[in-house]
Amino acid sequence: MREAQALVALRGVDKVYSNGVVALQGLDLAIGEGEFVSLLGPSGCGKSTVLRLIAGLGELSRGTLDWSSVQHEIGFVFQDPTLMPWATVFNNIYLPLRVKGIARAEAAPRVERAMEQVGLAGFGKAYPRELSGGMRMRVSIARALVAEPKILLMDEPFAALDEITRFRLNDDLLALWASQRWTVVFVTHSVFESVYLSTRILVMSTRPGRVSSEVVLQAKRDASFRTSVAYAEQCRTVSARLAEAMQA
């Protein structure tokens, strides 16, 4: 991917936590507009740290973080749905707009649209605890969508879900990505998930965290892709890269 097109780029980034843990060292990565990039690596390789730095939820210890445009709306989806238990689905999704000072009545159509996009139409009055794990994650995604982000950062969003729900959410996410043309940065430790979803995979190695290799994927992804030979081959390639990264 060419530098000039990068939406966001990290150059020579170190991140050292106050307890002395070196989470990242000499990390370089660039995310292009419209890409679906997965950060793949074992736990503790700093992939969540990368996401938090991009989101502006932490200071770089060294290096630079550059955005191509000043205005960059960010959507963030955590591993847990991270919903407000006291608020209805509607109010949870309304939160980012409420923070921006947009009145409820004015925000309502946008909230409704976000709910439709993730398949939550009609659930506005429900409370999070009344929903299943998969539905809660949909609320979390709708909340990230409602502010119409340019880039969506997802930190192992489906890790806690069962496989059936996970596959369905994978497909829904891909459909949304295809129709909305966002940029997505997706953190995962699943080879299969990363190959299924991404246009590019950055394999990260641990201690200290850095990008050890890159796999560019070009496949038309649909329901049959999961069982195709091409999918299996790509999974094998990425698994091998991951194994190298963990030995290095």
């Binding site: 939160l95 409420r98 923070v99």
Partner: protein, 261 residues
């Protein structure tokens, strides 16, 4: 409806059995009324002395409710202040603890000497007892906000005020209500203890004074009648606050939602 019946019936049956056993025992062993009166005699005393006991009940209830209201307002305000910075909390929290651990019986005489108006003095005593659970619980609640939700609001560029109103305050609600339920009972205890210390107080005398007075006159049934009124008031406060708690949390908090079997 059936659920309420199932929950209310067993304790009511126990109450009736216990009162009957009490009445039978008192009669069988011919216990003199000035040592332990039977429930029927106590009810008679309650009816006979209603004209003096009822105004006293009102006095005690008013002191209790004003103390609880003051404890709630000041407790929440101080907890909010504590939540603004760790330094404020660390500097002042020990003094809230001192206020809590000092027995109210021990400082009530001082307060009654310092404060001219007896009603105000009693109010302050009850307030001291009721204040701490609300401060400590609400402070804990305000500091227990989900970190990822805080991150999320930071990401969207929320102001401190927005974080406080949208996140901190609602997440503190269950903790605050838990504290309020404890404080409700404590405000009554504080009020009664302070009344005991204050002793006589002219026309404006609460139930504790009626107990002291009845004791001097060996009117043991009236002592019991006043005691039951205090207990009944305490139970009523608890029931009301439990209902408030349930109503506020029933849709979202684990404590108030029924588990499906």
């Amino acid at each position: 409806m059936r659920g309420i019946l199932v929950r209310v019936l067993p304790p009511v049956v126990i109450l009736i059995v216990a009162l009957a056993a009490w009445e039978i025992a008192v009669r069988a062993y011919k216990v003199p009324v000035y040592i332990v009166p039977g429930p029927l005699v106590i009810v008679q005393a309650l009816v006979r002395d209603w004209t003096t006991l009822y105004p006293s009940l009102i006095v005690t209830v008013l002191i209790t409710l004003s103390a609880l209201t003051a404890a709630t307002i000041l407790g929440v305000l101080i907890a909010v202040l504590f939540a603004q910075s760790k330094w404020i909390e660390m500097s002042f929290f020990p003094y809230a603890v001192i206020l809590q651990v000092t027995p109210v019986v021990a400082i009530a005489p001082l307060i009654i000497i310092w404060v001219k108006d007896t009603a105000t003095a009693l109010l302050i005593c009850a307030w001291i007892v009721a204040f701490f659970p609300i401060v400590s619980n609400t402070t804990l609640g305000l500091n227990s906000t989900d970190h990822n939700l805080l991150n999320l609001l930071q990401l969207y560029g929320a102001s401190r005020r927005q974080v406080f109103w949208y996140l901190r305050l609602p997440s503190a609600l269950p903790y605050f209500l838990g504290g309020l339920r404890i404080s409700g009972g404590l405000a009554l205890i504080g009020a009664v203890v302070a009344e005991f210390v204050a002793g006589s107080g002219g026309i404006q005398s609460g139930l504790a004074y009626r107990i002291l007075e009845a004791g001097y006159q060996l009117q043991i049934p009236r002592m019991f009648a006043a005691l039951f009124m205090i207990t009944g008031t305490g139970i009523l406060i608890f029931v009301i606050l439990t209902a408030v708690n349930h109503f506020a949390l029933r849709r979202w908090h684990e404590s108030a939602v029924r588990r499906e079997g």
